[in-house]
């Protein structure tokens, strides 16, 4: 007796799994196509972006050459001078203010034989003559009280043949 399978389920199962397989394959192929399309799009986009970047860089170079050439040097030169002039104009120069400061602080009856302003040391060395040591001391105090000077250093003092006091004072400028 020949075995004959009359059950219809196996055929239907095969049909169904074939349909699943086809659907799965369709999805897989679709994903593959999408990926391939995406890769192609990326490839051309990268090329196009690189070309655009190169064009922008070339244009930048041309603009840069225009920038450093031509009249911009005059603009920069003027600006540099403005900047430097501002710094210089605000620079304190004690040399010009030293004479009025000394005039104001001089005690009557005391006078100078010489003065020497030194910008690097920011000080003034003076040689003066006073009638006596008391006057000299007053002169030292007057310089100390001046708003222009930060310190007074007393140097050599001596009496001259007329009995007057020759003194040396070193004045530090604030």
């Amino acid at each position: 007796m020949v075995n004959i399978n009359l059950a219809a389920t196996s055929y239907e199962n095969d049909k169904r799994s074939s349909s699943y397989y086809n659907q799965g394959m369709f999805v897989i192929v679709a994903i593959l196509v999408i990926l391939a399309g995406a890769y192609l799009w990326i490839y051309f986009s990268v090329n196009s972006t690189v070309a655009k970047t190169a064009a922008a860089n070339n244009q930048y170079d041309a603009e840069y050459k225009k920038f450093i050439g031509g009249n911009n040097k005059n603009v920069m030169d003027f600006q540099n001078r403005l900047t430097v002039a501002k710094e210089l104009l605000n620079q304190k120069n004690s040399g010009y203010g030293s004479l009025p400061a000394i005039e104001t602080a001089m005690v009557q009856g005391v006078y100078l034989n010489s003065l020497a302003f030194d910008q690097l040391k920011n000080s003034i060395a003076t040689e003066g003559i006073a009638d006596n040591f008391d006057m000299m001391a007053k002169q030292v105090l007057s310089f100390k009280q001046s708003a222009f000077f930060s310190g007074v250093t007393t140097g050599k003092t001596s009496l001259d043949k007329d009995g007057k006091v020759n003194f040396v004072l070193n004045l530090s400028i604030k």
């Binding site: 990926l35 990326i42 920038f67 911009n72 040097k73 603009v75 030169d77 002039a85 104009l89 003065l115």
Partner: protein, 256 residues
Amino acid sequence: MKLKILLAPILIVLIIIMAVWFVIPGFQDLNNKKADLEKANAKLADIQNKNSKADRLMQSLDSNNDKLNTLLTYIPNQEKEEEIISNLNSLASAAGLSVFSMSIAPVEIAANVPAVDASTAGVPADGGEAMSAEAAKPTISNFKVSLGVAGSYENIKSLIIKIASLRRFNNIAGLEISKDTSAKGAGQTSSNDLQANMSLNFNYIARNNSVINIDDTVFSGDGFDMSVVDDIQSKMNTIVNGLTVGATGVANPFVK
């Protein structure tokens, strides 16, 4: 049938390979390239903007010629020592002083300000960092002028005030005032017999030392801040007189 069974996993592996090796790195590469493009476009827009501002600044310079001249007098582009000699001499004469010596020391470059070649300044498109503002500073050439004058204290003071307000930058590096003992002998001097030896600092900025710094704020601002020129014009009242040579040419240079 066997091929059909193998096809699906092969295709899935192919999908994974394509995604991992091609699409994802490609996408990242694209993003990087887009960032580069954005950067390049931003730089381009920036320099185009600066170029157009520079054009406007140039027009502003052309229309402010007197301010340019004031600034070029205050900080000239050359030493112009002849102008200094001429002006100091005329100021001393006007103050009633006699000039007994005048000398100009050689130029020294300001040590804290480096000289930079203009052609190498700025930012090229193919790389390199922006030149710092410090490196792009102009080179200042300083020199000292020594001046010896004789006369009264008031006149010396008047000269110093005039020099202080000269429209060319200067400052006093040294000032010595002493009684002129050579005039009448020691012990016989008056307050009018004084000698003053001054050491004055002058400077200039050579034009070709002004480098172009692409990042300088002047090219991103609205224009020049001319307030310093106004200050020079209002505070510095002693005009710097120009000098002309006059008639030239003699048959014998050793005969007057």
